[in-house]
Amino acid sequence: MMRTRNRAASACWSVFALTLLLVGAPARAEELTIALPAGVLAPIIPAENPLTKEKVELGKKLYFDGRLSVDGTVSCATCHDPRHGFAEPRPVSIGVGGAKGVRNAPTAFDAAFLATQFWDGRAATLEEQAKGPITNPVEMAMPDEAAVEAKIAGLPEYGPLFEKAFGDSKVTIDRIAQAIASFERTLVDVEAPIDRFVAGDANAISEAAKRGWELFNGKARCNTCHGHVSAYPLFTDDLFHNIGVAAKDVNFEALAGKIASHPEDLDKLSHEPGINQLGRFIVTKEHKDIGAFKTPHLRNVALTAPYMHDGSEATLEAVIEFYDKGGNPNPWLDGGMRPLALTPQEKADLVEVMKTFTSDGMARFAPLAELMPKP
């Protein structure tokens, strides 16, 4: 009972916080807390970027602003689309001038919790991540950080917002990143039917989903990497595994042979055709990380199709098939992958349970979808 009260309270608080954002509260640098159910560990917020309403407001504007890209057509929201679970509905993200990337942009929703950002974990914080796409030639294609700063500084409506958020109107790339990160820290919700079910509400999910949950934690072997832990209900172990997504199209030995030509430019390597398939290896250069990608979190997974780092699995059903066959063999395939011998009923049940990972309160983020450019 206590729990429901807290949940209701936290839902109210989230609504209140968001309402303040949308309505535009008077300018005061008051610190925001991210409201979470009892027992859930809060996301780590860097000390140098305390969360304030003003930063969130500025960050929201930047998040939806195509002018962060060189020709004004691509914003954060273009690939982390609020109409699609803050994720990428195309297999790979497409940047300025139709430049095709190599990654399916992960969801920005609940990303605040994760230990690292990007599919290869090369950014330790949301702040660090936000800077990457802005200057990436296949994404927002700004020539360099100085150009970004100059462009935003030249837009009159931003001056007052920077002043409210940071005390003065100086535009730096770090402030841009901090504001965007602050906004993303409000894109958080961990209250879905599955959470209620795990907490003891037997009616929270359907019978099929319950069977799916048994499989998820049993025969299907999902939970060792995608486990739901009550203190960290993200369905990820924050580690990197080679499950062989692109392995059949890729020669890892030949690729790694090319990697040393620009060993430090991780952003560039992670987008280079071919080489990007090395995944975590690009960052750590550790043998065991060849072809390994981050275990994505599964909150709202039903909203964030397609799946895998290259968007190669279009539906949840396709994902289950991929795991059922044991992934794609390659010399670095994680030893935890193996054929599962699931029956059609079991596969359907697994899909059903994954649908219960969608947060109950997504409706309150719907107004953000209204900010997307109309077709």
Binding site: N217, G218, K219, R221, N223, T224, G227, H228, V229
Partner: protein
């Protein structure tokens, strides 16, 4: 016995000692390690051996008092046969029920039964041990067999002599299960995963047997629940 009768016995004992010593009037063997004399309490079931005093020798008064105090103290254990030894360095060793207790201090506890009812009989202990050994042996058999799983892998392949099972660390957060688990949860996970077999019900006799074997093999290891 009432306090009065104890005191009376003690007094009699002490008087007897004093009297005997007076009659004997011999040279003291005090300090000679080969010498010792025995003093009995009136029930003939409590004895104190005093080292360094010859058997025909009078006890010096202080030592005599010590002997008397000790006999009185041991008389608490009415039905037991107890022998105490006061060594040259004044330490007291007590022997009772076939067990030896060192550095005894009169008035202190002696972990022997003051009464004998309620204690298991040797026969009972034998039966209990036989039953436990039977379950442990069954667990040993299952642990080493290929019948728990379907792929020929036996628990003993990764856990010879049940090594590396660490049952004393449960409950703990088990990273493969992503939750806090007990030993049998992990046993079931191992059956399902490396052994590719069907999970056992928690009250399945096979599960109990496996647990019994694993726990028996770690007997004496300190409990460290939560240690990863």
């Amino acid at each position: 016995m009432t306090a009065r009768s104890i005191a009376w016995v003690a007094a009699l004992g002490a008087a007897a000692l004093a009297g005997y010593a007076g009659l004997a009037g011999m040279r003291s063997g005090e300090g000679e390690p080969w010498a010792s004399r025995v003093v009995y309490a009136c029930d003939q079931r409590k004895a104190v051996i005093v080292e360094g005093v010859r058997s025909d020798e009078k006890l010096p008064p202080a030592k005599a008092q010590r002997v008397a105090d000790l006999l009185t103290d041991l008389m608490r254990y009415c039905k037991e046969e107890i022998t105490a030894t006061i060594a040259l360095d004044e330490t007291i060793t007590v022997e009772a029920n076939g067990r030896v207790f060192h550095d005894y201090v009169p008035g202190g506890p002696l972990p022997i039964a003051k009464v004998s009812f309620g204690e298991p009989t040797p026969r009972e202990e034998q039966i209990w041990k036989a039953e436990l050994d039977k379950l442990v042996a069954e667990g040993d058999r299952l642990f080493h067999s290929d019948e728990i799983g379907t792929n020929g892998v036996a628990c003993a392949m990764c856990h010879p002599n049940a090594s590396n099972t660490h049952p004393e660390t449960y409950p703990k957060f088990q990273t493969q299960l992503k939750k806090v688990a007990l030993l049998r949860d992990m046993v079931n996970w191992c059956i399902l995963n490396p052994l590719e077999g069907p999970e056992l019900a928690e009250n399945d006799p096979k599960m109990k047997a496996l647990e019994a074997y694993i726990l028996a093999s770690r007997r004496g290891v300190a409990l460290e629940a939560g240690k990863h």
